[in-house]
Point group: C2
Chain length 243, copies 2
Amino acid sequence: MSPQNIYDNSEFYNGYTQLPRQVYGLDGAPEWPTIRALVPNLNSKRVVDLGCGFGWFSRWAREQRASSVLGVDLSSNMIEKARKETVDDAIEYRIEDMDQLQLPEASFDFAYSALAFHYVKDFQRIVGTVYNSLTPGSHFIFEIEHPMYLASKEPRCVDQEGGHTSYVFNNYTFEGERRRDWFVAGVLKYHRMLSTTLNSLIDAGFTIEHLHEYSPTEDDVAKDTTLDKTLHHTLWLIIKARR
Amino acid sequence: MSPQNIYDNSEFYNGYTQLPRQVYGLDGAPEWPTIRALVPNLNSKRVVDLGCGFGWFSRWAREQRASSVLGVDLSSNMIEKARKETVDDAIEYRIEDMDQLQLPEASFDFAYSALAFHYVKDFQRIVGTVYNSLTPGSHFIFEIEHPMYLASKEPRCVDQEGGHTSYVFNNYTFEGERRRDWFVAGVLKYHRMLSTTLNSLIDAGFTIEHLHEYSPTEDDVAKDTTLDKTLHHTLWLIIKARR
């Protein structure tokens, strides 16, 4: 079965490219300052960026003196634009399906992934691949949609309680496919319980070093009012692990 | 401020003692088989049982050949009954407030706590206390109410979706006191985000080894129909960590 390649759907792509984080890059993502504070010194490190999109992180890593960056993404739209935006021989972009991805052993010193793994069907496989591709002591930081947010089959908000919207929560313990209408109908994502994500990392050999459950601040909401509905739950989960 | 001592309230206590897990002990708790599978070999180990209640786990640990057990609980009702039920000089029960608890350094080889830490105000403090009381390489297993379950200020279920009840979720990112009506009105618990719990362990020096998010199976629901409402979310979080 060929993988979902929604980012090469022109309707989706046209919507997606208007997101603040795609227009303004890393600084357009309200959770970026938190992630940035977790990233270790990249000086002379070989970096892999999984689901690199337009290459915003890949280029930033080079600004931080990474010696090389490999950015992979399933979308040829994304990779094409990433290549156009990049004038740097030390960054290589490659079209790859993360459910099939192979990486050479012990060839990277830092692995990064932003909002891509919830599209990956076999999380245990990609985690094992990343683990083997890293040198001992290396860090792996990734961000996914928070499973509390992704769990519900028909996500919806209900009436205000205490001034804020509540979120209707179900199906958390039923892992697997979730369909979401996001620019187009039925974008396919995979829900995993938080314990599944963490146990997969631990079972692969990683040590969990830090978790961050992002929730918008009042400042974030002032900049992007659509975040208002999510003040009381958490949208994104950021995990830092060490090989 | 004196700590809440709800277990010494007779109305609460009379209700609480009718719970299957208090009538039938460990086997009355549907999550016990999972916890049991995570417990390391206790042979010759010195065990501390935090929030020991009637001493079910303390006595079980001795059946597993633990060399000694210290059980602590705030409730004199609990400790009195635990002492009555126990004929074993190697088990000591002590009335202690876990927010004030002090333990001697490196004097235990296994620490356990079931459904007690959500009553503890200062989680970072108790985690540090447990860490220092354990010998290097020792395990710490504890169970708490799942933060997804405890988060909401006014927890309630809504209409069936797909045959199951949904849970209305809010206030997850707002940590602190929660009041619950459970046998009596306004039992005080403390909500912490899952990341706060895990980061507290990691910052104290623990390595996270396993997480389990309990949800009732169909079998569990057949035995206890009140669990039906919780099929789609998760009631209890079990964490195994290593010093």
